[in-house]
């Protein structure tokens, strides 16, 4: 018998997913996920014996391209994204928090 998802689990998963939920969101999400989990619980009830998991459709016709340098997109293309600063550099916010 499947156990329902708890509010604490919803909060934990939201933290892992980097999503902020209000208390009202938590309860609504718990209710909605509970319904979906009841749907997907069927995978646990199917007897598939010792079959191997399929991560990807098997293919013998895929290949990596040759490991040779090719030109990158270049500054003109990156300028289209609107993220280049006046010096033509890609500006991003700090992504390390030294000393924090």
């Amino acid at each position: 018998m499947r156990e329902g998802i708890t509010r604490a689990e919803v909060r934990h998963v939201a933290r892992l997913a980097r999503l902020e939920l209000t208390e009202a969101d938590v309860e609504r999400m718990r209710h909605e996920l509970d319904g979906v989990l009841a749907l997907i619980d069927e995978v646990r009830r199917v007897d598939v014996g010792d079959l191997a998991p399929m991560e990807h459709v098997a293919s013998d016709t895929t290949t990596l391209r040759p490991d040779e340098p090719v030109p990158s997109l270049g500054r003109d293309a990156l300028a289209l994204t609107g993220r280049l600063n006046d010096d033509g550099l890609l500006g991003i916010p700090p992504i390390t928090e030294l000393g924090s």
Binding site: I5, E9, V10, H12, V13, A14, L16, A17, R18, L19, E20, L21, M29, E32, L33, G35, V36, L37, A38, L39, I40, D41, E42, V43, R44, V46, V48, L51, A52, P53, M54, E55, H56, V57, S59, T61, T62, T63, L64, R65, L73, A77, L78, L80, T81, G82, I92, P93, P94, I95, T96, E97, S100
Partner: protein, 480 residues
């Protein structure tokens, strides 16, 4: 030729007309634009239009033809592309606030190939945010409406592409199909939609939803139109590591091969999930194939009953990983905050819509400690089991016949607040994605409310030529 007559032409007729100078690309485009200007405000199939750019492109094609050049098999054909396929310098949102205002620095391979074949890109079509949905109601920029009944959904997630083709705003369009997102809207809008074999069409430039399932394919008014587009966009692409090292699919030359002697299996396990009207449409389609010389029998694939559950573990799990890149640092929306983590949380919480958050939560849960083995790995085992079920079916049948959608178009708002009801819309289409095999939805008449019904032809991997020949036979025999 009158504008109405131009809208009746097939993709091949348009291209041949423009290449032979009996038509001008510009006059073809203007016929479509006139249609678009009248009905698009009600339908809302586009997120971005570039009519001026399309006019300049059509004029350029006419000049090239007059200089003796041959721009290619889609010369002068007005097309649209789903807005999760990137276009260089042209806004691409994937239906999400988190990418609003972002302009990609490159074209997707499929866009390069369409343009390289002479197509005229009119705009980018609406979709459920990040292609997650079955109604196009989960677009952050408002829903698309079904041209057959504006109170109904066009299906999803490629609802904008399906509606744009059905309303004759463009001759054909591209969509993406992770669990039915080309075929289900095609069925609900009364057009043809092809989900080709996994690895047959490059995904370089497709904004990823679930990488082991996603596939790009065409939506068009006829099987032949879809086939012409499929030949143009398929074939190996070294920039996509999952692209098969095979040449482009060859499907047009055999469209008229007929079905005589073919073994057709009706998948009763899927027919049983459909409304009585959709179920009888599948049975009528089967009788039509029999009348044309096919050997029709029922084929049991009971494994398909577990496919929806497996899909709604695997697709959200992969989505939760793929959508981790939308962190406020690299693309689109950036909500300022004092720390990096707070910036990521604020950006994602404000940028993603409710359905995307729900799927990220579901996928994160399925991959989290304590559930990964019981849910995610178990769903992958079910996927293997499903593959064995289809392998058994292919020993008995050359193609399979099933409903595309369990029902015709539902009303706007009818399922948008009930995720499970919405997810059940995908029950007949997800099996082909899970096993990586091709399937096509072909219109088969209308229900009592004059809403289109689609029937689905499934085939083994790389058997698109046979699958589309069956679809063409159905198209010829379909009720009008």
């Amino acid at each position: 030729m009158t504008p109405e007559a131009l809208l009746e032409l097939g993709v091949r007729e348009v291209a041949e007309g423009v290449r032979s100078r009996t038509l001008r690309a510009r006059e073809v485009l203007e016929a479509y634009v006139a249609q678009l200007e009248i009905e698009e405000p009600d339908v809302h199939s586009f997120l971005a239009l570039d009519v001026d750019g399309a006019r300049a492109r059509a004029d350029e094609l006419d000049r090239r033809v007059s200089r003796g050049e041959d721009p290619g098999p889609l010369c002068g054909v007005p097309v649209a592309v789903k807005d999760n396929i990137v276009t260089r310098g042209f806004a691409t949102t994937a239906g999400s606030r988190i990418l609003e205002g972002w302009r990609p620095p490159y074209d997707a391979t499929v866009v390069e190939r369409l343009l390289g074949a002479g197509a005229v890109l009119v705009g980018k079509t609406n979709l459920d945010e990040f292609a997650m949905g079955s109604s196009t109601e989960h677009s952050a920029f408002g829903p698309t409406r079904n041209p057959h009944d504006l109170d109904r959904v066009p299906g999803g997630s490629s609802g904008g592409s399906a509606a744009a083709v059905a309303a004759r705003f463009v001759a054909a369009a591209l969509g993406s199909d992770t669990g039915g997102s080309i075929r289900q809207p095609a069925a609900l809008c009364g057009v043809v939609g092809v989900k080709p074999t996994y690895g047959s069409v490059s995904r370089y430039g497709l904004i990823a939803f679930a990488s082991s399932l996603d596939q790009i394919g065409p939506l068009a008014a006829t099987v032949e139109d879809a086939a012409v587009l499929l030949e143009v966009v398929s074939g190996h692409d070294p920039r996509d590591a999952t692209s098969a090292t095979r040449p482009a699919l060859a499907v047009c030359a055999t469209l008229d091969d007929g079905v005589r002697g073919l073994r057709v299996g009706v998948v009763r396990d899927l027919v049983a999930m459909a409304t009585p009207e959709v179920a009888s449409a599948v049975d009528e389609a089967a009788r039509e194939l029999e009348r044309r010389g096919a050997h029709v029998r029922e084929v049991a694939v009971p494994e398909v009953r577990a496919a929806l559950a497996a899909y709604y573990v695997i697709a959200p799990a992969e989505a939760s990983s793929n959508l981790a890149r939308f962190d406020g640092v690299r693309y689109g929306l950036r909500v300022g905050a004092p720390t990096t983590e707070a910036l990521m949380v604020a950006t994602r919480s404000q940028g993603f819509g409710e359905e995307v958050k729900r799927r990220i939560m579901l996928g994160t849960y399925a991959l989290s400690a304590g559930y990964r083995s019981a849910l995610y790995v178990q769903a992958q085992r079910v996927r293997t089991w499903l593959g064995r079920g289809f392998a058994r079916a292919w020993a008995e049948a050359d193609v399979l016949l099933a409903p595309t959608s369990p029902s015709s178009a539902f009303r706007l708002g009818e399922r948008s607040h009930d995720p499970v009801a919405m997810y059940r819309s995908d029950v007949c289409t997800v099996p082909s994605n899970l096993v990586g095999e091709p399937a096509v939805s072909v219109p088969w008449g209308f229900d009592r409310e004059r809403l289109p019904i689609g029937v689905q032809v499934l085939a083994p991997a790389w058997q698109e030529a046979r699958m589309l020949a069956v679809a063409a036979a159905l198209e010829q025999g379909a009720p009008r």
